[in-house]
Amino acid sequence: MKRFIIRRLLLSVVTLGIILILITLIPNIAPGDPARKIAGGTASPERLAAVTESLGLDKSVIEQLTDLVTDVFTLDLGESFTRPGTSVWSLVSTSLFNSTKLVVFALLLVLPVAIIGGLVAAYRRDTWLDRVIVNLGVALSSLPEFVVGALFLVLLAVPIDFFRVVADPPAGASFLTELQYLLLPVFTVLTVYFGYIARITRASTITAIESDYTRTAFMRGLSTSEVFRKHVLRNSLVPTVAVVGTQLGYLFGGMVGLELIYNYPGLGRMIFDAVDSADYPLLRGGVLTVAIIYMLATLAADLIIAWMNPRARLSLSEGS
């Protein structure tokens, strides 16, 4: 296991390196001159040169990369273009904090509900309950989150006062009030992800239930709940963990539509605004953050899987 962790961490360092290289390269190889786009078509050559310099594009690619590495490790990502005087890091960290609140709250609801749904569907396989869970899940997850979000606005937030049309609570709100404001976006995430996670859990749970080792456990005289807790779950939740790991990056940075609808200042909306206003430093900071979250999420998922399933450690710890 130690060997696995060390190798997996080294792999993450490599991933981080690749992320940094890609972020450095994109403005250099993307079509058109980012500096001209930012400065505007009618800008004077002096203004253009100043923007180019502020983007660091006058330097060599290698220098740009080392600058980026320094920036990342000193948490100094420069200043926002659109809000001069405000550091990118402070904007990113605020959005990141907001996104984290949303994602953590969403996962706390989605994971238990979807996993239990999948387990129940697997245990009651081919009954009406199974069909309801599977079909409802498919139907709901085929709707994009901005559609579900909008529907909830119309169906719940408008007629019922308890549900809020915005997700961002007023300043100084209590924890419970914050939760109340976040309720509809979280329901949206639940709706979209329930079917996906439940179906994956269901499939792997059925495989585990039908396995010989589960039969052995029943024959040993364990009760159904003991068989599930001690033998089935650790085998059946591996794919679920892998899926959640890869979806975390999206939950943090990709839910632009949802954040716009509920006017929530998360990372997705921040990146969207940065693109919209050609705020290059902010965009860079946002993309970098999402990439690192993605990297850490898959790292966490892999470590959890390796802890759950000893065979998963083999791929990295035995050099073949």
């Binding site: 052995t216 029943f218 005289g221 364990l222 033998h231 000893p310 050099g319």
Partner: protein
Amino acid sequence: MTASPTATDTAALSIRDLEMAYMVRGTPRAVLRGVSFDVRAGEAYGLVGESGCGKSTTAYTALRYLPSNGLIQGGTISVGGREVTAMSSKELREFRANHASMVYQDPVQAVNPVLKIGRQVAESFEVIGHSKGEAKELAHKALQRVHIADPEGVLERYPHQLSGGMLQRVVIAMALASDPLLLVLDEPTTGLDATVEAEVLDLVRELRDEIGAAILLIAHNLGVIRTMCDRVGIMYAGRIVEEGTVEDVFDNPSHPYTVGLLNSIPRHGARKTDRELFSIPGNLPQIGDPLPTCVYVARCPLATDKCSAEVPPIVARSDGHWTRCHHPDRIDEVPLPDEVSTAHNVGTEEVIGVHGVSKTFHQRSGDVPALVGVDLGFAEGETLGLVGESGSGKSTLAKTMLGVHEPDEGGAITLRGRPMATKSIDRETESIRAIQMVFQNPDSALNRSWTVRRILTRAVSKLTGKSGDDAEAQAVQIAHAMQLSDRHLDMRPRQLSGGLKQRVAIARAFAGDPDVVVADEPTSALDVSVQAAILNLLAELQRDVRTSYLFITHDIGVVRYLADRIAVMYVGRVMEVGPTDVMFEGPIHPYTEALLSAVPSVDGEAENRIPLKGEIPSPKNPPPGCVFHTRCHRVIEGTCDKIEPPMVEVSLGHSIKCHIPPDELLEMQKVPWVDHSVPEL
């Protein structure tokens, strides 16, 4: 003296008129149709029959482990006087934990892959009320009891770090945790090497007296039943058709089905040149089919009008030996398998030659020499049997011949004297056509979404260059030669039985009229009667078209029946090669001796088993000197562990890689495990 219990109160397991069915779309389909038998404490009872006859279902039903659509429709199951069918689910759990245990067919699947061995063994003790601490200690003792050399180490390991034989020991240790009244062994050694099988059977035999449990053993290997059990029940279509002591049933079979089963396995040293194996015509009735009066009537050579009109009575043959047959007195009229009239000629020209072939796999952790200096050749129409334990390099040799693995520099594989390209992609169509393969598992070897016609037509066009109607016509012709009917041609593999699928796989291999067919355990997944049909087919094809076979198997009986010559491999080296009849007269390599002695015989021959200690060494670190010296029972200290023995020719074409001079070896091996009797079937 008949089916009625000798004394129910002394029976640890007593099953009476058990009826069990699967519910399929609301209709019950009968699986068990009135099964009755008793197993006394300390007694071992075997259940034998083809796949689908209900033997495993009986075993699982005894512990009331039914599939979700399974339904016990009648009868009683009593274990230690308690009625299993009447237990509440809580009582059933308590019963399984304390009084009944099971050992399963595939130990690798039967243990949880994500939990340490220690956790799983300890759980068997926790469930019967021991504390965690006690359970841990007991787990340690349990592993010692099944002779695991390093219990501390094994407890800390995960299942994938142990071999199949070791895992089966662990499963047995868990099964014995509660000192059960009933121990069910469901094909406990199927899939294990013959040597490992022998060790596991030895262990069960040894523990048997100690535990005093009633043992119910399910096996399709009649030899395993013969050597392990006191009494045996022959099952057919959900009913026991004959029962008695193993001696009575196997030596004086009284039901035509029992006779059919016994005639379908190669016995008493029978060879393909003597007679065919008996293949029971037709198929087992499907689950749920309405049964005629006698379950076997449709396939029975003795059947008369009476058999389809009246239910056969239970006829006592001797004390405790009975049969369910109208005509037990005509049992001798069951026809013997056909004698082989056409002479079997082995040519003299070498078709495929393997010359000094080595294969080293380069891994990050070091080189693994999987094959070392292999020399073998096949004449036209010859069968070379290749035997050895798992990991001895048999399959690597086959794959290297086929060009899947590229041999190391220096070796050569020749086709009629001309070297072939070492990689299959570089080979000419002619060379590819010349060597074809039949795999162990036809399910994964055939394209599941293609019809048989398409599979065969494509093989013909790929291998012979024919196309369109020509190719299809030839495909149909080949299918007919394999005794596949036109009906089968438009079916897909999943619609065919295991035996028919293997016929298709053989037809595919024969599509291009190959010179050599490499068959890797082609019958080990099949029932004995189906195996007989496949072996007959292979022998017949060889007589007709003079194909050579490389026949890889762990079944010594099969290799003895089919092979003209046998090569024995160990750690990537050929230890012995020689003509089959010469080898069975001795002298033979000590390793071959151990392999042969491990085979449980249905004829109940003298037990002189030579145990092989430990596991086969990894080719990564072969022992110095003779690679076999670490496990050899005839090792000469100071010689065998230092000097690699040369290949010595003992007699014409028979060579042994051993330091012991052949005449001394012959003297040492004058033990009567070799069955010299002439075929007497």
